[in-house]
């Protein structure tokens, strides 16, 4: 199968929420007369592994697991992504021979990656003979058994993910999930500065992805879904407040509030959480009329009495060198439905409480890529999918999602040569 623009496919798998949170690819390559078949499992840019199966010099079939980290860059004007292998561990018995980890190099416009066997000797490499994504219907239990023991948790999870086996004891979600005899509804509030010159495109990407993502979450859970979008020319403080004030969730409902735009902190500000800059152009001055603190939005949302409140802001939290001015009386993505419904239930329906989080610590910038979106927002969607996936062997919880979001967003800034590190913050009181 020829995959055009493989580099972008892989990069998007790692960086964006446009594809599965857990992407699986098969890679085949040969060296020294031996054939290797790898199953590449990618969660995000820092959590990747490959199971490699091969018959060794003792004519014995071996399987080894190699962990990967990714690095992206540009060389001579061409973009590349390299997956650097490390820590090879034999899944089968080891035999006489060690296994040196392979490294995969994806270049723009190449349909197969280079397999590099030694980073110190770049001549010791070959182009993979095949590279293809694994799709539902094309994966059999026998195929997976060439990489996993039958009791391996990932084997069972991938089987479920690909619909090879229906888990027997796990109950399916009820068609209408109720709590206190009331049907739950997920209210998604997205405040996105899609019209601003510098980050508008990235905000628009995030907005589309968030709507699709949470629509998919609600659909998987079988709960109602309502969305409230403040964007474009309606991106104002009055519209934002009106939207929040008009929210009327039931006592069993979930509110997810996500801000995507400029953020900052006043020079004389002491609270941790950033100010949201609700202007769409430079002709409007920053003032109390045009800004809203994340904490105030959180307070308003919490006062609505929903069962679960999730308040997130992907924006900077740096001092802009201006003191707070008290001058005003104005107080496409398609969801892939890869979620494990039972795990989503644990997150959204069997919890109660409040979450408040932002993309950067006081004094820090939050970064956005115009094509891919905000690092924090993308990382949040990746973390949500990972936690709610079949491959998650543990009990899903919001702390893990928030920790993973913050860590992954920071990793993305580490991979970006021009970005300073962003360390998000969160407060969680969810039971």
């Amino acid at each position: 199968m020829k995959i055009k623009y493989l580099f972008w496919v892989i990069l998007l798998s790692l960086w964006s929420s446009n594809l599965f949170a857990q992407d699986l690819y098969e890679v085949k390559f040969s060296t020294n007369g031996m054939d290797y078949k790898g199953l590449l499992v990618m969660f995000n840019e820092s959590k990747i592994y490959m199971r490699v199966g091969y018959t060794d010099g003792e004519q014995t079939y071996r399987v080894v697991q190699v962990d990967y980290t990714s690095e992206q860059g540009v060389s001579q004007g061409k973009e590349y992504l390299i997956l650097i292998g490390s820590n090879p561990k034999f899944v089968t018995a080891k035999g006489k021979y060690d296994y040196n980890p392979d490294h995969l190099l994806f270049m723009g416009e190449m349909d197969k990656p280079w397999v590099i066997f030694d980073l110190n000797d770049i001549n010791n490499s070959t182009i993979a003979s095949s590279f293809k994504p694994l799709k539902k219907g094309a994966v059999t239990e026998r195929y997976l058994r060439s990489f996993y023991k039958s009791t391996a948790s990932d084997f069972l999870a991938i089987k479920r993910m690909f619909g090879i086996e229906t888990p027997t004891p796990t109950p399916e979600p009820e068609p209408e999930v109720t709590h206190n005899n009331k049907k739950a509804t997920l209210h998604l509030v997205v405040i996105a500065n899609t019209a601003i010159t510098d980050i508008g495109a990235g905000c628009n990407v995030d907005k589309r992805n968030l709507i699709s993502e949470f629509n998919g979450v609600a659909s998987t859970l079988g709960v109602g879904f309502k969305k409230y979008i403040v964007e474009g020319s309606s991106f104002t403080k009055s519209q934002t407040l009106a939207t929040l004030n008009n929210l009327s969730p039931g006592s069993n409902d979930i509110i997810v509030f996500i801000y995507r735009g400029h953020g900052f902190r006043w020079s004389n500000q002491t609270e941790t959480w950033p100010q949201m800059d609700l202007r769409t152009n430079a002709y409007t001055r920053l003032s109390q009329n045009t800004t809203l603190s994340l904490q105030e939005a959180y307070r308003l949302i919490k006062s609505k009495g929903a069962r679960l409140n999730i308040v997130l802001a992907d924006c900077c939290n740096n001092d802009i060198g201006i003191n707070k001015v008290n001058n005003s009386p104005y107080m496409q993505m398609q969801s892939k439905n890869i979620y494990n419904a039972v795990k989503l239930q644990k997150l959204f329906l069997e919890t109660k409480g409040d979450i408040l989080s932002c993309a950067a610590s006081p004094g820090e910038y939050s970064w956005v890529n115009s094509s891919i979106g905000g690092f924090y927002t993308v990382s949040f969607m990746q973390a949500l999918r990972e936690e709610g996936s079949y491959l998650n062997n543990g009990v899903p919880n919001w702390s893990d999602i928030l920790n993973s979001t913050i860590k992954s967003a920071k990793n993305k800034t580490n991979m970006c040569r021009n970005c300073s590190a962003q360390n998000g913050k969160y407060y969680s009181d969810v039971k």
Binding site: N281, L286, N318, I320, C419
Partner: protein
Amino acid sequence: MKPFLLALFTLTLLFACTKSTKKMFKNIAKYETVQLFVIDEFATAPEEQNANETYLLDYQIFNQIALTDSQQINIKSFVTNSENYTDKMARTCPFIGQFGLSFTQNGKVVRMIVGHKNCPKCLVSDNELEDGKILDFLDGGFVVQLSTY
């Protein structure tokens, strides 16, 4: 392939900016006169502008800072070096003006609004090319340097 891979692993990272930005940098490089202004933090809409005041890309000019020849060269050198900007990445902090720059020659002009060092971005506009465009500086060092002039 070998030379390319070698180059790859030396991580020679090149800036990939748009054609129009490159053209703008070329124009700035060949324009002789550089002027530096202290400006308002926010732009003033054209209909609200005072006829007695001067504006640069709708930012009110408070005063002009005289530049030596070497300072003008330093500014041009910094502004036209693509390595001083982030590539495709932007900070999500609000743009707040601090300095204005104009690069002129024979009636042609490129105007630039330089943001506060805490959110180091610039708004740049070339009459010959597209409308204003916001670019992110690598850091706030340039703004600090302008403050010393």
